[in-house]
């Protein structure tokens, strides 16, 4: 019938421009940042080794932020990722001190994440506690468990070399963590965009009532989201331990806000406020490049913060403003 989707008359050229800018705003900013830096610091920033270095720095944040993306996609929140990461690292290291083999220790660490994710999910769905309170609570409990195990003292391995290889080792000149990041990103993307589960997650996040009425088991989907998030958080914690060969009670704390920043920044990449894996990765990389730039330029501490804050806002702002102009 006569609902013609394309607006009857052709759009002005400018509108097209705005649309592009709205879609690629965040990416354009990242690009600009890179170009400027390459000009300012040709022989330190724009070097292959530094690129690898930045990617390597992004790896861990990327893994945990991707996990968070899953909970955000299902319309939930997870404030426990930081504590989960810390706990996983501490458990893995403690086990290795008790001469448990590395693979087993890692497995145990990750298992912790599964358990915490499950707890989060059940408290949210079965007890019906708001996700923020629930995950904050479970997170606090996790910290408690952490103290019960390590008594708050950093756990450092006696001879960490084999363990350290996991993050120091390289293949074709690129450190393993980068491969891990990329591999997980591909998997996560496929899961979200090419499977029924992924679509269900997005549906639940988009409109839980509609999802449930169309036969999706909303609660189950939510729990799965939390479990994936917890698992990746734990994995991050373990990987973090492979960097220093030791684990500390609060090692993972910094990842909390960083992951949220990346995920929300990413929700403005290419899409309009939807969380998606690619966006999250871009968010993480942007932050990493920003930090790298700061360090290379040797900015004053206060510049560092101003810079990071502005990058966040501009990166998202450009897109949204442009989109609005395009609509107008």
């Amino acid at each position: 019938m006569i609902t013609t989707l394309q607006p009857p008359i052709a759009q002005p050229w400018s509108a097209h421009l705005w649309q592009r800018l709205g879609r690629y705003g965040a990416l354009i900013m990242l690009a600009t940042l890179i170009v400027v830096m390459s000009v300012l610091e040709p022989d330190t920033f724009a070097t292959g080794s530094n690129v690898v270095n930045v990617l390597n720095q992004s790896a861990l944040s990327a893994v945990i932020a991707m996990g968070l993306t899953f909970t955000l996609v299902t319309g939930e929140f997870d404030l426990s990722i930081g504590s989960t990461a810390s706990l996983a690292g501490v458990i893995a290291c403690t086990l290795m001190l008790d001469d448990v083999s590395i693979p087993l220790a890692i497995l145990a660490g990750v298992a912790v994440g599964v358990v915490i994710g499950l707890l989060n999910g059940l408290v949210v769905t079965v007890l019906g506690v708001n996700a923020l309170v629930a995950t904050l609570g479970i997170g606090t409990v996790a910290v408690g468990a952490n103290y019960a195990i390590a008594g708050g003292l950093p756990v450092s391995l006696r001879d960490p070399d084999a363990f350290l290889q996991i993050s120091l080792g390289r293949f074709a000149g690129i450190p393993y963590p980068v491969y891990i990041m990329v591999g997980l990103a591909v998997l996560a993307w496929l899961l979200l965009n090419r499977t029924v589960l992924g679509q269900s997650m997005q549906a639940v996040g988009g409109n839980a009532v509609a999802a449930s009425l169309s036969g999706i088991r909303v609660n189950r989907v939510r729990v799965i989201g939390f479990v994936i998030c917890g698992t990746l958080a734990a994995l991050t914690g373990v990987l973090l331990a492979t960097r220093t060969g030791s684990a500390a009670v609060s090692a993972g704390d910094t990842y909390l806000l960083a992951a949220f920043a990346a995920a929300f920044f990413g929700s403005a990449v290419l899409r309009d406020g939807q969380f998606h894996i690619l966006g999250t990765i871009v968010g993480v990389v942007t932050v990493a490049v920003g930090f790298n730039a700061i360090a290379l330029l040797g900015m004053e501490t206060y510049w560092q913060y101003l810079f990071q804050g502005v990058v966040l806002i501009v990166g998202v702002g450009v897109g949204t403003v442009a989109r609005r102009r395009a609509a107008a």
Binding site: T44, T47, S49, N50, N53, N56, Q57, Y147, G152, L153, P154, S156, R158, L164, S167, L168, P175, L240, R243, T244, G245, S246, A248, V249, S250, A251, D253, T254, F291, N292, A295, L296, G298, T301
Partner: protein, 305 residues
Amino acid sequence: GGSPGKDSDNGSDKGAGKTYSIGIVQFASSDETSETAIKAYVEYAQKQGWEVSKVDPQGSVDKAISAMNDYVQKRVDAIVATVFPSDSLTAGVRAATAAGIPVISFAGGTAAGVPINMDGGRPNAAEGAKLLVKDLGSTGNLLVLGYKSGLPCLGREEQLMDTVKGTGIQVTRNEVPIPGQVEAATRFTQAWLAKHPAGSGPLAVWGCFDDPALGAVSALRQAGRDDVRVYGINGTPAALRAVKAGDLRATAFVDVAAIGLAIAQRTPAIIAAGPDAKPEDVAIPTFLVTTENYDEFVKKYPAAK
């Protein structure tokens, strides 16, 4: 309710001699050094059969002050505060003083109502700084990883700067955040290394405590560089191991356990003297551990590693 804590903590088996009730305000249960000092203190106190309780304000001054007020409510005989600058605990200290309770500070500095403090600042950095300058031969580049909001770090950095001043050493400084000190240190170091490739004169990294130093070590490992010397302070087990392995040039082992014990032993006197006694700063014995003297160190402090 959370009553289970009750018996698990205050080993209130009344031993010989006068028993006291002590309230300890931690800095954060995750802060290794202060925790070690507290541990030593608590062990002694419990041997004496004193009643000890600990509260973890998780790094929040407000909570620390709250905890001090709670202890005043509990009518303890003495309050031990940790790391928080004493002059930022004023509201708590005042309440304690008013109730005639002396406040003992671990590394927070003395102040009115805080008659005794163990100094975790300047003195601990002295030897290390000298060694650093000597190693560099008074030239080359130095990366300083500091933390200005922490009193001990502040003193240590000042000490370092005083020593470095006048030499030809070029200093790059970065502020490391807490938490996240290790990763931040790694990133700062990586960038600094990029600017100072191998062969660009003598290079060194100095951390105002061991975590940043270890972060730097991790960066060196990842970059496969061995031309940079790293210096830390505190002598945490991880750091000591790094010294032994030669990854860390030196760390100043701060014998907080000893000082914790010493102050515990002096507690009765402190209580007797009350909050208005003449303020006193007790320097913490330090031992600069290097690759060379590691074994000697282990002989002296078998417990440490």
